[in-house]
Structure formats: C-alpha cells, structure tokens
C-alpha cells in the first residue's frame, strides 16, 4: 500500500514536471494579448509538484516508521481483476479489426464461459442477442455509427 502510494505520488510529480516544461516552452508570463498559453498550466504543474512532494514525503516517512502496511489489494484479488482487464483490453484491440459488436460478442462469450463458468446455452444466447439488439438500436434506429473496424463493415451487412 505505502509502496504504491510512493510510486503514484512520484508519477504525479513527473506529470507536473512535464507540464511545467511544456508551459515554459509556450511562455508562462504575460504575452502580447494577456497571459500566455502556458500561464495557467504552469501554475497547475507547480502546484501538482509541490502537493505530491508533500504526499511523497509523508508516505516515505510512514514507510520508514511503520513498514509496508496493508497490501494494495487483498491477497488473491489481482487474478480476478486481471481476468477483467486483459480480456477487455483484448476486446478493444480486436475492435480495430472486426468492429465493436463482433468484438463484444467474442468478449461476452469468453468471459461468461471461461471466467464465469456459465452454461453454454446462456452464454451463446446472451453473446448473440445482446450485441445484435445493441447493433440494431444504435446503428439502425438511432443512426449512431459505431466502429466497424477494418472488416466489420463486410461482416455485418444489413
């Protein structure tokens, strides 16, 4: 927990420095027509650096005194979370190829069958009916074009 605390505050400080660097490039003083583009972000960056520095110092101090503290996640929690994160990232990646609805159908089927251990009938029914009805609602009724991917347009032609 405290390690994560330290890492996250360091990341925030990094963000702050990146912002400051870009603000200096844009100019953070008074420009020709008032405050320059970098004016507001500059102070945001400075603020983030200062505030996260204090958070960091506090966390380091506590780490020294009290050791690591509770783990960030309860034991055994990482696995189920990764079982959600990885398939959904894969779904988004597959979306680029076959489009949103087909990728989602694959994701639904995979998660329900492999992770959720749901019976085949339910899995097939849900992962076919849900994308189909959402496809009809969004793409056909409300005419909101959803990503078709590279090949999706050929696969869903109606």
């Amino acid at each position: 927990m405290r390690k994560a605390e330290i890492v996250v505050s360091l990341l925030f400080m990094l963000v702050g420095f990146i912002v400051i660097a870009d603000s200096v490039r844009l100019g953070f003083m008074w420009g020709r027509t008032g405050p320059a583009s970098g004016f507001f972000p500059f102070y945001l960056g400075v603020g983030v650096v200062i505030a996260s520095l204090i958070v960091l110092l506090k966390a380091v101090n506590e780490y020294r005194k009290q050791g690591e503290g509770k783990p960030l996640m309860p034991p055994g929690a990482l696995k189920p979370i990764l079982w959600v994160v990885i398939p959904s990232t894969a779904m988004v990646a597959i979306m680029e190829l076959v489009g949103l609805h087909i990728a989602a159908a694959m994701f639904l089927g995979f998660y329900m069958r492999v992770v959720g251990k749901i019976g085949w009938t339910t899995t097939l029914l849900v992962s076919i009916i849900a994308p189909l009805s959402l496809f009809i609602t969004f793409d056909k009724l409300f005419l909101i074009p959803l990503p078709a991917g590279l090949w999706g347009g050929y696969l869903l032609r109606f």
Binding site: V55, L72, P80, S88, F107, G116
Partner: protein, 500 residues
C-alpha cells in the same frame, strides 16, 4: 414567487405532453435499473446515454438524462437493503441499518422507510430548486470573469477544506483534472498545448469518457476484487408495510429534517449524494439518544442518509443550472448533455431558455414523485435483476461502457482512454485520492482558465483584481479560509481549547 409558480405551470404543460411523459417513465425505469446494478452508477449511466439523447429534442433529452439520475437515486437503496450490496456509492450508508432491519424480518418496512425518506429529500431539494434557483440566477447575472473564477475557487476549496479526505490528495486530484482539461488546443490563443506533436492528444480529453472509465470500469474492478456474493432477502411490499412504514416514518422528524438539510447543503456546495449520505448518518447517530441501536436496524439510520442522498442529488441541480457549476459528478455529466444541445448553463439560461429551464424543473417534480410510486410498486421486480449472475451482466456493462465512450466523439482512442481511466479510477479509490473533484476540474477546466485570464486582462495583469471587486472579494476570502480550514481548525482548537 407568483411569477415562479406561473413559470412552473408553464413547465408542467411541457412535461405533460405525451412524448415527454413517456420519456420520464422510460428514463426512470432505466435509472432504477442503473441504480440496482453495482458497477453501473448514475454518472456513467447518464454518460452512456448522451450519444442516444443527442438525437432527441433538447428538453426531452435533458429530461431523460435527469430521470436516470432520479431513478438511480431511488434504485440504489433497493439492493442495499435486500442484498447488503449497494447498487450505488450513495447507497452504502443504507446498508448499515437497512440490511439489518430487512434481515430481522422487516424487509418491506425497511424499503418503505427508505423510499419515503428519498421522496421527502427529493421534494425538499426540488422545492429549493424551484424557488431559490431563480433568485440565485438573478444575482449571478452581475458576475464578471473575476467573480466566476472566485466562485470556482470557492467550489474547489470546499472539496479541499470540507471534503474530509486527505486535503493534499484532493489538491493533487483537482490539479490533475485541470491539467487533463488543458491538454489540446488553448481556447484563447489557439496554440496547441502538451500535445508533443501528436495528433491524438490534440483533441484533448473528454470528461464523459473519463467519467465512464473512472466511475464505470473503476467501480467494476472494485466489485470484482471484493467478489460479489448475492444472498438476497426476497420480499413483497404489502399495504400493511406501507401503512406501518408511514406511521414509523413520521415518528422521526429530526432524522428527516437533518437528512434534508445536510443533503441540500452537500448538493449545493458541491459534494454530491455520496458524502451527504455518510455525513447525515454520522450526524444522526451522534445526536441520537439511543446511538447503540444504530447498525442494528434503527429506522432513523435508514431515514437520515436516504433523505440526504436524494436531497443532495436534486439540489445539485441548483448550482449547475444557475452558475454552471454542477453539484455532483452525475450532475456534471447532465451538464455535459446540456452543452451538447448548445444550452450554456449559467444565469443567462433563465433569460434565454426559460421554457427549457422550467420544463426541466417541472420534470424534476414529476420524475421524483412518479419514481417514488414506481419503486414502491415494483421494488421486488427490480431487485430480482441482481439474481442474474454477475459474470453475465458485468461484461455487458463493459460493452455498453465502450459504446458510450466511443460514441461521444466517434473516436477510437477514447475507448483506450476509457480503459486507462478505469485503472486510474481503481488506483484513486484504493489510495484515497477523491474522484469527484477531479472530474469536476476536468469539466470546468476551460471555463476556469478563461475566466481567470479574462479577469487578469481586466486587471492589467495584477492578481489584485480578485480582491478589489466588491463581489469577488468576499468569495475569494471565503475560498481561502475554507481552503486552509484543515490547518486553521486544529489551530483554533488549540487556541480556544486551552482557555476552557
């Protein structure tokens, strides 16, 4: 006053059109479902619907969005009480006493009490919205850029000073939100900022995508981590339950009033429904003569947080519609909906789009009253949704989230952002960085920056401009005091504590 009533009547004539009535009922039912499902909250429920709503007329669209919020406020407590699983963050406090009462054999009564409290809180918030918002809007017409910036400072210092969580982390979260808002094109000069030559970053970050990731996926990761076990109490609400619930309800006027006032304050100051419900529960427990009954099914422990949550939800509309500062994350998303329709929230809205404003207010009356009867009649049916296995509806929620994130701007990159924001939301929750102020900073970022730069130009570059204008000065002073409150409060206690 009379004028307000006339306007309200006009609003009702808009709302009672058959199409709008249908929208209200559909929105409420969707909202209650959103409320019942853990992982699908009010904020991202509304966010997902924004692309659909764009195809509707403005008034109907915004009514639909707000109905999701009212419905979700009602629905969240159903599963808290029957399953001990809060469907929404603001319904967590309802599990403290609601579930024990239900387990003790009175599920019907617990539900009736919760719904009555919601109804009372809602009506209180809507009354304030109806009669106070026009006055506030009239007053806010006098605001220039310096005052607008001062109001925002006050808003954000309220998060820091009165938020209760680590003030430093709140500061980091707010500044991070502002930074995300600043990415992309500078609205004043047109220069590109923090894009590092990439086209992808030019469009900046859309806050609706951030909401879907932070509140939607983040919440799902948390639910997955805890592992969801559904052990429900089944019930139906009979007439006897309603009668007894009502008799019990009026025996706790203190809890009702406390909940309504705390809720209204938290909705107004931005805090939102979640902190309001916890605060009301804490206060009510502290001031109660029999505090040891709390946690074992005390009726006051259901009434106070529920009334507060709903009062906070409805009164969060007041600063949103009059000042353009949403009082809760869900209200921020609804405000995003308004802006998509070209309705700029703020004092001018009352002048330029009076028909819309009063239609919205009238729909809040209608929706909250109808919602009460809907949950009273169909609570067991809505509760049965949770008997569907989590492994079935969880991937469906992610799927719908992806649709919402993509459809906001029709950009594929937003779907990736959604995933990243999801992980970020999980980390934020775990490490106690507050999400709500960050979202609000992301929403208000451009407006705050513009106001500050304009004010500085008016003041010829001197920051004194914020302290010399008669309306800006008190706002800024209040903002500074509240910002440093975590430092001042212990000092004050030390100074005055020793004398006593």
């Amino acid at each position: 006053m009379m004028e307000d009533l006339n306007n309200l009547m006009m609003g009702f004539s808009v709302v009672t059109q058959p199409y709008n009535l249908m929208i209200i009922v559909v929105g409420l039912i969707l909202g209650i479902i959103v409320g019942v499902l853990p992982g699908l909250g009010g904020a991202n429920g509304v966010a997902i619907l924004i692309p659909v709503v764009v195809t509707m007329p403005a008034t109907a669209g915004v009514i639909l969005l707000s109905m999701i919020y009212w419905g979700a406020l009602y629905g969240g407590s159903i599963t808290s009480i029957l399953f001990n699983i809060p469907g929404e963050p603001w319904a967590v406090a309802a599990t403290f006493d609601g579930y024990p009462m239900a387990k003790g054999g009175r599920p019907g009564k617990a539900l009736v009490l919760a719904f009555l409290a919601h109804g009372a809180g809602a009506i209180f918030g809507v009354v304030i919205l109806t009669f106070f918002a026009p006055i506030l809007a009239e007053f806010a017409l006098k605001f220039g850029p310096a005052e607008v910036f001062a109001v925002m400072m006050l808003t954000f210092s309220a998060f820091v000073g009165l938020g209760g969580k680590s003030p430093l982390k709140t500061v980091v979260a707010i500044l991070f939100g502002f930074i995300l808002a600043a990415v992309g094109m500078d609205i004043v000069s047109g220069q590109l900022r923090m894009t590092y030559g990439t086209v992808v970053l030019m469009g900046g970050f859309n806050f609706i995508v951030a909401v879907i990731g932070l509140f939607g996926l983040g919440e799902i990761f948390l639910t997955v981590e805890e592992g969801l076990k559904v052990e429900g109490i089944s019930t139906r609400i009979g007439l006897k339950d309603i009668w007894e619930g009502m008799k019990e309800f009026i025996r706790y006027p203190k809890a009702i009033i406390m909940g309504m006032l705390i809720g209204c304050w938290m909705g107004f100051k931005p805090g939102g429904a979640t902190p309001a419900s916890f605060m009301a529960y804490g206060f009510c427990k502290q001031s109660s003569a029999n505090a040891d009954e709390f946690g074992k099914g005390a009726p006051a422990g259901i009434i106070a947080p529920e009334a507060a949550a709903h009062a906070a939800g409805t009164s969060a509309a007041i600063p949103m519609i009059t000042l353009g500062i949403p009082g809760s994350p869900t209200m921020a998303v609804i405000m995003g909906g308004l802006m998509i329709f070209g309705l700029q929230p703020g004092p001018m809205l009352f002048k330029e789009h009076a028909d819309f404003v009063w239609g919205f207010i009238a729909s809040s009356w209608m929706g909250n009253i109808l919602g009460f009867f809907l949950v009273l009649a169909f609570a067991p049916i809505f509760a049965s949704i949770l008997r569907v296995k989590f492994a079935i509806f969880m991937p469906l929620i992610i799927y719908v989230c992806a649709i919402g994130a993509y459809a906001v701007n029709n950009r594929m990159i937003d779907v990736y952002y959604m995933l990243i924001f999801g992980v970020l939301g999980y980390l934020f929750k775990k490490l106690d960085y507050p999400i709500a102020p960050m979202v609000l900073a992301l929403v208000l970022g451009d407006m705050a920056e513009q106001a500050m730069r304009q004010a500085l130009i008016i003041g010829h570059g001197s920051p004194l401009v914020f302290f010399t204008l008669p309306l800006a000065l008190p706002l800024m002073v209040a903002a500074i005091i509240i910002f440093f409150w975590p430092v001042i409060a212990p000092l004050k206690a030390r100074l005055f504590g020793k004398k006593a």
